[in-house]
Symmetry: C2
Subunit: 362 residues, 2 copies
Amino acid sequence: MELDTDKEIIAKIKQNAERLVKDIEATIDPSITLPLRSFSNVHFDSKLGYLFLGDKRTSRNFLNIAHTRKFMQSMMIAEKCKELLEMGKSASIRELYYELKHTIPGTKENTFEGQTESDPLIEDLETMLDSLREHLHLKADSKGNLFGEIVIKDMGDLIDCSKLGKSGLSIPSIVDDYEFVSCNAKYILVVETKAMVDRLVEEKFHIKNHAILIGLGGQAARGARRLIHIMHERLKLPVYTYTDGDPWGYYIHSVVKTGSVNLAYESRRLATPSAKFIGMTMADIETYGLQKVTEKLKDVDKTRAKQLLKYEWFKTKEWTKEITTMIEKGVRIEQQALASKSLDFVANEYLPKKIAAQDFIE
Amino acid sequence: MELDTDKEIIAKIKQNAERLVKDIEATIDPSITLPLRSFSNVHFDSKLGYLFLGDKRTSRNFLNIAHTRKFMQSMMIAEKCKELLEMGKSASIRELYYELKHTIPGTKENTFEGQTESDPLIEDLETMLDSLREHLHLKADSKGNLFGEIVIKDMGDLIDCSKLGKSGLSIPSIVDDYEFVSCNAKYILVVETKAMVDRLVEEKFHIKNHAILIGLGGQAARGARRLIHIMHERLKLPVYTYTDGDPWGYYIHSVVKTGSVNLAYESRRLATPSAKFIGMTMADIETYGLQKVTEKLKDVDKTRAKQLLKYEWFKTKEWTKEITTMIEKGVRIEQQALASKSLDFVANEYLPKKIAAQDFIE
């Protein structure tokens, strides 16, 4: 789904501010009402296929002394975002904190004592305005890279992502303004580790298979999630995720597919519900004779695996079987374990065969 | 300094192997001799300006039962690297581990039990052959991005790094084969955080100032360090580092400039001794009125600062003063704290003025 324009967001901020001014003029205690963002209010919509926030709401009143500081801080953040939007600039959430931090004149009170005070209020503002922080012109940390037969227009530059050698495009935090000028790819392959993307690039997998490769470098950053979402939506390309066969890898898949618990309110703009999981799977261990290159599950892995079983969106027959098998076997299997067959096995056998046979976990 | 060619490395590996075979045929206990890589053997060459390993050596004998396993493993790694070089392929150090891991026929013994066994032996091989792992066709994790007026030829692709929008080039692990086709930049600015690079790119700093921007994303990865080294060497560009004003930032500078303790044996190929430190400095706090946006030093910061004071390469007048002042003030100052002045302050005031005045710590 597309975002509001800058003008629309500015209008929303003004609207909210004017409502508060009216309340003050009418000597009514000004207040903000927000969706509750705790786990108890996170739900999974099995039809739409992503996480969302339920109906529980919380309010913040200026005249409630426990809320007053946060109320002031929220106003400051909203004002600064409006300024950024008007100037056509963007700021990192750390810069925003430093921009707003000062001592209130005539007092010894600082507006903010740490970024831990401003970060949650940014999330408040996102839910209040029903907008992504990226569209409030705030940047999260960027991570990940991209290769493939797609030409992207970014800040006026035409970038042919099939002509970036083994280096690839660094995925920024804000990708909404990317224009996809042309695309010759057939699907998007999202890969957990950058080292595996290096392998696939060295084997020219992306060229031979007309694939767009996205390397996450671990858990998916917001920029990468949003990019996968808009590429899928605008280019109508299927999305396959390829991670390690362990609870952490499975959760990375689920974050790309259904959204994360922490950012449940943004799933519909960050998640790609049709994403399919390629591997590594427990069945791969038998199929490809990888018994000697598994790793033992640590306690922390087992605990995490048991948590996954409790999440609504993992309660399908296939995922329950997959995770239960993992716990029973007591092992995990990494992407790079396929190197025990041969370096090019993943590129020339494993992935092409799985994709041709559509052998996925949904 | 340039590296040996693939052929030369292959010849070195063969030479070593043939020597061992001769020893065996002559019923001499085959052995390998290596420079000792512990801190006690790490020295700073103040003339050359980088770290190096001293004369202490250690040897590994096949018939010493405590060495036998490692001896076998070293041979396996050398053999695999030779194979990679001959095939013109490269592998991540994790792939190498998986490629070599198997059960020795007729026994229950595995060749390797974990990557912790193979990684140090790769370092052994590097020192033994006096070669970078990248030139043994082994890849470390990649990190960092690049922007600027330089055209790089990589795997046959011509990449104009001034035409990559706000995305930038993702810096790979192996950069030795980069060809610098043309360059209009006047210096290389190495920046600790990616968010600060985003800021500078948004302000078009790299275009206005003809700068190559390198974002490290924290501690400098080997690929980024090698890239800075070869760009400096081949393009004769000055290198300026810009980090947070804290012991971690100062150490990042010193790793770029003089090398790291862990990889002391590779400093001459990874370090850039002429690199100059721009900031953040303790003096900046007064000069720019940043007292309200400093952060208190934690115990772990203080401990690290005191460690730095003991390192030979920090024992200059300027660095001693800088670090001592930090400990006395008990504060650190981040790059992004300059946002408290205004978002574009760093790009339009702070950096250009410091560079024009050559106001650096060496």
